[in-house]
Symmetry: C2
């Protein structure tokens, strides 16, 4: 049986390493024990016609197997979960609830977090970002409060670890090193529990190992984190 | 066979009418010819414990059938599509691609549109909203350009109408009456094609007919659109 082929970047800015969305797909493949091949895209070519033919929005990852070509990491994770054992419960109800948490991660919890990432990284220097930040944080805090209450003392969102937990942990991880990360002990422990899984560890290491290219010259300044005044 | 029961609001502000997310579920149910019952929530009670037990984020819609309780409109639409004919192709590849468009609608196209709705409605009066708006619009415009190129002259995103088109049309409809709506003729025609479907028309009429309550006193000013100076 042939391996699926996914796409990933050969270089990303320092702040995106360990966060690019092929991680979600790699993690799902590792959880189900499916080996895979990676086609690395030179950074900057994702918007060119050859990749656009595969991914209309010029993003990664994509997934190809036996003639099927898919994009959108949530859909790829679901496809992997549907065609392998281990990421969705066997019973119809549990399966539907795991999928519910996949959508909750991507359509309810992630949008305000994406907004935060834009405000604190891509638009950090824009004059509107600082005055607006409290409103952005308040929206995330509301979602985290609600999620924390639902999770309670449980290890995972609905019984055993599922594709819903995989995506929720991947979404919450984007708040790493933000004050929001430490606001709820049970959510911090939940993310740590996800990251401690051997499948996550393998996927994470594989993503990092794939950044082997030099940055495009205009992005060279994003190859290392900035040193702050007073730091070495 | 018993009907599924969904939840919806008994009142929403004027600008949300025809946009609340139970519409997506009603539309899916109408497409597959499944009758349903609605439990109306008094506006303001969605954050109270009884509804929170069903929907941890205090939102609507929810879906209940034979002991299964689901929230998150994307997951509910997928569940309806999986248990009825008409919203997913029969072949495995076409089915996976329809689901791919569901996730693309909710995780790639909708987040910048949610951002626009916040900036132009909920935070319209905040000092940061006006200077920031061009950046918000630019993010949506990029996605619409890409979607427009992929759709081309086709009626639907991948062959026949699917749950992916249902969610994409529902997402794009939120730009109604914005300049973004008219930027691409083929996307405007795509949305119109979706809205012209008899199932959409029935779902839309049913949502509007459900707003039978008076507004909570503190929201009474949102019961009608504001009249602008110079208008009657």
């Amino acid at each position: 049986m042939s391996n699926p082929v996914i796409t990933a970047f050969d270089w990303v800015p320092w702040f995106a390493r360990g966060q690019v969305r092929d991680l979600r797909v790699r993690w799902a493949l590792e959880e189900v024990g499916q080996s895979y091949d990676v086609r690395y895209l030179p950074q900057g070519t994702q918007k060119d016609p050859p990749h656009r033919a595969l991914q209309p929005f010029g993003q990664i990852p994509t997934y190809e197997l036996d003639g099927l070509k898919l994009f959108e990491s949530g859909a790829i994770v679901l496809r992997i979960a549907e065609t392998h054992r281990g990421l969705l419960p066997e019973d119809a109800g549990g399966r539907a609830r795991a999928i519910e948490w996949m959508f909750a991660a991507l359509n309810t919890v992630e949008p305000p977090i994406m907004d935060y990432v834009i405000a604190t990284l891509f638009e950090e220097d824009q004059p509107w970002s600082k005055p607006r930040l409290p409103a952005v944080i308040a929206r995330i805090a509301e979602r985290l409060d609600e999620l924390s209450r639902r999770l309670g003392e449980n290890d995972w969102l609905d019984g055993s670890f599922s594709a819903g937990d995989l995506l929720m942990v991947a979404v919450l991880r984007q708040l790493k090193e933000s004050p929001l990360e430490r606001a709820h002990d049970n959510l911090a422990a939940y993310v740590a529990r996800g990251e401690a899984r051997p499948a996550f560890q393998r996927a994470f290491a594989a993503q990092l190992a794939g950044f082997t290219a030099a940055p495009p010259p205009e992005y060279a300044f994003l190859d290392q984190p900035p040193t702050r005044q007073g730091e070495r």
